[in-house]
């Protein structure tokens, strides 16, 4: 029972990180109908920026803040430079471009920072928390990870739902033609969407890297998990992305925890791919599709 609790809680923590990546993918998908394969690479890159800042300033929070800012800038820059020219072209073009972007970012990180594994600090203690005599299997640091993603998600949700900027983004995503005819500068809105996605990815990178180490490919597997979570949620739904992330996080945690030893650790990525394939075969529109068919 204790093990179950521990696995569930740590699954939720990791699930929220996957949810952050999934949300960033959904943000871009809804705006431009393209899947950003470079999302993980962008997050990896901003995490390198964070670690450099932390080395120089000896402040975790300085690194954290700079990473988020770098995520915003990198997201916007990628959209303006390489993605913009592929819009209104066949969808495959933008897919290839984002894969190319991923390769460039990973290569650049290797050139600039080297390929060796680097450890990344946490903001808070990683000593397991206990209630009474029971170890919960999560630390203060894990609580921070969960809280950070939840706050970011909440801020985003409120922004989208209640502000003018949010309405502009939704309008542009649902019907770009109507949005433009109404005076919404859709191109600018898309750039903002990419910037926000970059920020979410940067957040996920900083939060997850303490448990994965940092190297040019370190976010690849996290991207796959985030992508699986997004597909699970239906790619179009922010709520779906969060739920998908949580489901995946907990499922992977059980798979890794109940199947012992090195097999369990190797099993997690296999389980994720299994879930991805199953969802794509059985419910390609995700668990949250169905009632939300779009009328055109």
């Amino acid at each position: 029972m204790v093990e179950f609790l521990q696995l569930t809680l740590s699954g939720i923590v990791f699930g929220l990180v996957y949810a952050a990546i999934a949300l960033s993918l959904v943000l871009i998908w809804r705006g431009t109908r393209l899947l950003n394969f470079a999302q993980g690479g962008m997050a990896m890159f901003t995490t390198y920026v964070a670690i450099e800042v932390i080395y120089r300033t000896h402040s975790y929070w300085a690194g954290f803040a700079v990473a988020l800012a770098a995520g915003l800038v990198l997201g916007a820059a990628c959209e303006l430079t390489v993605v913009r020219p592929t819009l209104n072209k066949p969808p495959l073009n933008s897919v290839i471009v984002t894969i190319g972007l991923l390769t460039v970012l990973e290569g650049l990180a290797g050139i600039l920072y080297g390929g060796q594994y680097r450890s990344f600090p946490t903001a808070f203690s990683i000593t397991g928390l206990r209630v009474g005599g029971t170890a919960l299997g999560v630390s203060r640091s894990d609580v921070f990870v969960a809280a950070a993603v939840l706050v970011a998600t909440l801020v985003l949700a409120v922004t989208f739902r209640y502000t003018s900027a949010g309405l502009r983004m939704r309008a542009a995503a649902f019907n770009a033609t109507i949005a433009r005819l109404s005076g919404i500068r859709v191109a600018r809105v898309l750039t903002v969407g990419w910037a926000l996605a970059g920020l979410l990815g940067a957040l996920a990178g900083v939060l997850v890297t303490p448990s994965t180490f940092l190297y040019p490919n370190s976010m690849d597997i996290i991207f796959i998990y985030g992508f699986t979570a997004a597909v699970l949620g239906g790619l179009d739904s922010a709520v779906g992305a969060v739920v998908g992330g949580l489901v995946l996080g907990v499922a992977l945690s059980y798979a890794g925890g109940y199947v012992g030893g090195s097999v369990g650790a190797d099993l997690t990525s296999l389980v994720a791919l299994g879930i991805l394939v199953t969802v794509l075969m059985i419910r390609p529109d995700g668990l949250f599709a169905g009632s939300r068919m779009r009328r055109v």
């Binding site: 003018s164 900027a165 309405l167 502009r168 939704r170 309008a171 649902f174 019907n175 033609t177 109507i178 949005a179 433009r180 005819l181 109404s182 005076g183 919404i184 500068r185 859709v186 600018r188 809105v189 903002v192 779009r294 009328r295 055109v296």
Partner: protein, 255 residues
């Protein structure tokens, strides 16, 4: 996104005073296809100009080229003397031309009120002024007020048409481009929409360009009629004269 607002001078004089729209020698098309071949149409200030013609005559393309949805290859679009041809849709609506495209102009995933608020994205104003503009729209279209918190997908066809026209008006245009506003509506609802168009012109001094398949009902409310055929203007005449010209009606308009 507030920087957008700073760069934008706002509604300026939009909304007050009628402006004429002069389309001169407009050439536009899609790829190899030339859909408009030197079209000139003048829409008088505060008048209703009906643009008629068969399917594929270039009516919708004309509106799309004026509002910037496609870039004209040649020609001018003069709004009260200023050439807006070639500008983006975002700029054209700021200049004072609102385009209500054919078909499903509402965004069904958004509420009625959110759909209306989109109409005010082209100008900058205080919260109170926006609220007042919204209330004015609700006053003009009471059925929308009742459903303001409902998703636009719950509206009937007539209510949707009301919503898209209300939204276009919230942009405070001088010129309103309407593409088949009566399409798919029941006859009674269609008459209401036509009434509304007349009132917008007569009471609010809006310059209206009305594209219609239904030539009979369009000519019944229009001041001026223009017939397009294969991308060219073949007739431009007083609406009453057009409706009275039996041979011409038979030939181009099919009634």
């Amino acid at each position: 996104m507030s920087s957008e607002a700073l760069a934008d001078p706002g509604p300026a004089a939009a909304g007050d005073g009628a402006a004429s729209l002069a389309i001169e020698g407009l050439v536009a098309g899609y790829g190899e296809v030339v859909a408009l071949d030197g079209v000139s149409v003048t829409a008088g200030a505060g008048a209703i100009t009906a643009v008629l013609g068969a399917n594929g005559a270039g009516k919708t393309t004309l509106l799309r080229a004026v509002s910037g949805m496609i870039k004209p290859r040649r020609g001018r679009v003069l709004l009260g003397g200023t050439d807006v041809a070639g500008r983006s849709p975002e700029q054209v609506v700021r200049a004072g031309i609102a385009h209500v495209p054919e078909g499903q102009g509402v965004i069904p995933e958004l509420t009625v009120e959110e759909n209306l608020r989109i109409g005010m994205m082209s100008w900058r104003a205080r919260k109170a002024e926006r609220a007042a503009a919204l209330e004015e729209a609700y006053g003009r279209f009471p059925p929308l007020a009742v459903r303001r918190r409902k998703l636009a997908s719950t509206l009937s066809g007539g209510e949707r048409q009301m919503l898209v026209i209300a939204r276009a008006l919230l942009a405070r245009p001088k010129v309103l481009l309407l593409d088949e506003p009566s399409l798919g509506l029941a006859p009674r609802v269609m008459a209401q929409v036509m009434d509304l168009v007349v009132r917008l012109s007569r009471e609010h001094g809006l310059t209206i360009v009305l594209v219609e398949q239904n030539a009979r009902s369009a000519l019944s409310i229009a001041d001026h009629g223009v017939v397009l055929n294969l991308g060219r203007v073949v007739v431009s005449a007083d609406a009453a004269a057009l409706a009275a010209d039996v041979a011409l009606r038979h030939h181009y308009l099919g009634f």
